[in-house]
């Protein structure tokens, strides 16, 4: 098995219970694995949460991590996928001084070319939201940095997988058990 360190997206379907985030993150901490990003939300199934965790590890580590996560009583299923096996994106926001819109005409061009969206504008500042791959967000941040950014924030990765997860089947089977 490849010992190469790669980016893996770990997807976990869980019950929506207090403390589960702690239990899952402890699995990474105990093995001294840094979590690049972690996002939790409602999944496509009612009352089932989905964790999207991005880590840089070997495939062997990914397999073992998924095993340890699935072992948790309230984790329904866990999977790992490479970038190629997922469709993923991140989201970010920039807060920038409104004066710049007038003082630096180049700013308007950057916004136009960036495929981003203005969320709000007032006399003091405007807020721009952009969704995309990390390199696109980074490129935009670098462009604005020259002019000054009041605030910048980026979300963790969200991802859907190309293959099916079949979690609904597991839950359906339980119901009919």
């Amino acid at each position: 098995m490849s010992q190469e360190i790669k980016t893996f997206t770990i997807s976990v379907y869980t019950e929506n219970n207090i403390g589960l985030l702690n239990r899952i993150s402890a699995i990474f901490q105990r093995r001294h694995i840094n979590i690049e990003s972690l996002t939790t939300s409602q999944s496509e199934i009612k009352n089932v949460n989905r964790f999207v965790i991005v880590v840089k590890i070997t495939e062997e580590q990914a397999i073992k991590l998924v095993g340890q996560i699935e072992k948790q009583v309230e984790a329904i299923r866990a999977y790992y996928h490479t970038n190629e096996e997922t469709i993923f994106t991140e989201s970010c926001m920039f807060k920038i001084k409104s004066d710049l819109l007038f003082d630096e005409p180049q700013i308007q061009n950057i916004i136009k070319e960036s495929d981003s969206r203005i969320v709000t504008v007032n006399k003091e500042f405007f807020v721009l939201e952009k969704t995309g791959r990390r390199f696109e967000i980074e490129a935009l941040r670098e462009k604005f940095e020259v002019y000054g950014i009041m605030q910048f924030v980026r979300s963790g990765r969200i991802a859907v997988t190309k293959d099916e997860m079949k979690v609904s089947e597991i839950l359906e089977a339980f119901k009919n058990q």
Binding site: E15, N22, K64, A75, F174, Q177
Partner: protein, 577 residues
């Protein structure tokens, strides 16, 4: 709680009663068949203790002298009986004192349920008196845990706790209950939990995997079994015996697997691991098929993984999918309950004898006997050995006693030399290596199975880590036999200092108190043996005693335990001296 996520036993006779959360907790315990629990009261758990007062005669609470003792006693109770052990403590320090026992139960797959009191829910997060985040603290060392802040949630959480603790690969569960939830009254009805939707405790055994395993075993020239506690937890002792006898495969055990097959069985070839027997360690690296059953390839078993059984095809039977390929890659993995998977295997196996291969084990045993065992159990030197004490205990127990050992040299000697006729007879802290385990665990074991002889074998170091539990033995009249093998050292650490740190005995020598006087202070019959000629009579007297008995044996100070696989070495580099 989202009730769609669990299934409950249909219990039409269960009637609804309007009671307090505290009383509900007791009723849940009784409904789960709990006869004894171990604990220590305090502010945040007082409503439950008040109910225990009312339920005297229906459920027996044992006051230990420290919450750690309660956790280990619950473990001893579970390990000897297979039933769920229960420990109870108050919030804050009471709860944190349970943690070592919980961690021990987690790594040794022991079913226990710990109930902790918590500050009232309106004080959560305010740094209230005796408030601690015990759910957060216990998360990494529990199979499952939960906090209850409403009385109405108690029955379902308790039902889930017991189901999770004992099903699949067992483990510890902690339920933290706020004081206001204990006082609150509600309509109580108890139904046992039978399934949790996110949890698959017993993966289905794949018959094709069983057939693949059988094919490898049937074609093997030098097959070897290493079984672990999974055989005992799966109640698969009879199936293991049948598999071993039909296939003729020599079978070795891990420390926690001890006693699943009687010591005297001709195909029982002894213990693997750091201080295991010479033959099974050496021949691990010569077998052609290694059959691991309900064991997890702990580093103390495998030594260096780079040189572990590389020549062998590995078959791994386990209930826990996360164990497969965790440390050793399996050529064939058979998931499922050991009782079921071994029964399926049995019907696929050919009858075989492997006599020449078995002879190799006997030959290596003869070498071990000459260079280690003889001097351990029939010493000619002046000082007493730990091994001869075990031999004397065997003589009087006839192999019927449960041996509860602590951690260190005496533990290795106890596991190497104790004879076992019955399963669930070797109770020791394997994975965590918790000094202080044995004395309270022996109390739990004796109280769970009072008809069994329970002998605790403890070093002078570990004994003093929970020596306060002599008070519990005295108060409960628990007829535990306590043997302290006193070498006035933390012996195993001293052995390592001798072998690997040029004899720099840093903080391992112990100046000990008069242990006999201490035991007598608790009104426990006690004797000290310093000479060989006194040993036989003293052990005989202890074993004949109907009540608790303390025996101190002053053994040679600087004896070492061999064979030994030095840390990080290969199993084939096992040393005899």
């Amino acid at each position: 709680m989202n009730t769609e996520t669990i299934k409950k036993e249909k219990n039409t006779s269960a009637k609804t009663e309007h009671i307090s959360g505290a009383e509900a907790i007791i009723k849940c315990l009784i409904a789960e068949g709990v006869d004894i629990l171990y604990g220590y009261p305090g502010g945040a758990i007082m409503p439950v203790y008040d109910e225990l007062f009312k339920y005297q005669g229906k459920i027996h609470h044992v006051l230990t002298r420290h919450e750690q003792g309660a956790a280990h006693a619950a473990q001893g109770y579970a390990r000897i009986s297979g039933r769920v052990g229960v420990a109870m403590a108050t919030s804050g320090p009471g709860a944190t004192n349970l943690i070592t026992g919980i961690a021990d139960a987690q790594i040794d797959s022991t079913p226990i349920v710990c109930i902790t009191g918590q500050v009232p829910s309106h004080l959560l997060g305010t740094d209230a008196f005796q408030e601690t985040d015990i759910v957060g603290i216990s998360t990494p060392v529990t199979k499952w845990n939960a906090q209850v802040t409403k009385a109405a949630d108690i029955p379902e959480v308790m039902a889930k706790a017991f189901y999770i603790a004992k099903s699949g690969r067992p483990g510890p569960v902690l339920v933290d209950i706020t004081k206001d939830a204990q006082f609150e009254e509600f309509d109580f009805k108890y139904e046992k939990c039978t399934a949790v939707r996110s949890y698959n405790p017993v993966p289905k055994t794949d018959i094709n995997a069983v057939k693949a395993a059988a094919k490898l075993i049937n074609n093997a020239k030098k097959p070897m079994i290493v079984w672990g506690q999974g055989v005992i937890l799966g109640k698969a002792e009879a199936e293991l015996k049948a598999v071993v006898e039909k296939s003729g495969v020599p079978a070795a055990w891990t420390i926690l697997g001890a006693s699943a097959l009687p010591t005297s069985h001709p195909l029982n070839i002894g213990m693997v691991g750091m201080h295991g027997n010479y033959a099974p360690n050496k021949l691990t690296n010569e077998c052609d098929v290694l059959i691991a059953i309900g064991m997890r390839f702990d580093d103390r078993v495998t030594g260096s993984l780079d040189t572990y059984a590389k020549q062998a095809k590995v078959i791994h039977f386990d209930i826990d999918p996360a164990e497969i390929n965790k440390n050793v890659k399996a050529d064939v993995a058979v998931l499922g309950n050991s009782k079921e998977s071994l029964a399926l295997l049995l019907s696929e196996l050919n009858t075989n004898k492997h006599e020449a291969w078995h002879q190799e084990f006997k030959d290596l045993y003869a070498i071990e006997y000459e260079s280690v065992i003889k001097d351990d159990i029939l010493p000619e030197k002046e000082g007493l050995t730990m091994g001869e004490v075990l031999k004397e205990i065997n003589t009087h127990s006839n192999g019927d006693a449960a041996i509860v050992s602590d951690v260190g040299q005496h533990q290795m000697i106890a596991c190497r030399y104790a004879e076992f006729n019955h399963s669930k007879s070797n109770i020791t802290s394997g994975g965590l290596g918790t000094m202080g385990f044995a004395l309270p665990a022996a109390i739990g074991a004796k109280m769970a199975e009072p008809h069994r002889e329970v002998v605790a074998i403890i070093g002078d170091g570990g004994y003093q880590m929970n020596i306060q539990e002599l008070g519990t033995i005295f108060q409960q009249k628990a007829a535990v036999k306590i043997v302290v093998l006193n070498n006035e050292f933390l012996g195993m650490v001293r052995q390592w200092q001798q072998l690997f740190f040029d004899k720099r005995y840093a903080s391992t020598e112990m100046t000990n108190p008069d242990f006999v006087t201490i035991a007598k202070g608790y009104y426990i019959d006690a004797k000290r043996v310093t000479k060989r000629e006194e040993l036989a009579d003293a052990v005989k007297e202890m074993m004949a005693s109907k009540s608790s008995y303390f025996l101190e044996v002053c053994v040679e100070k600087e004896d070492n335990v061999f064979p030994m696989i030095p840390s990080g070495a290969s199993v084939s580099e096992v040393r005899l001296s």
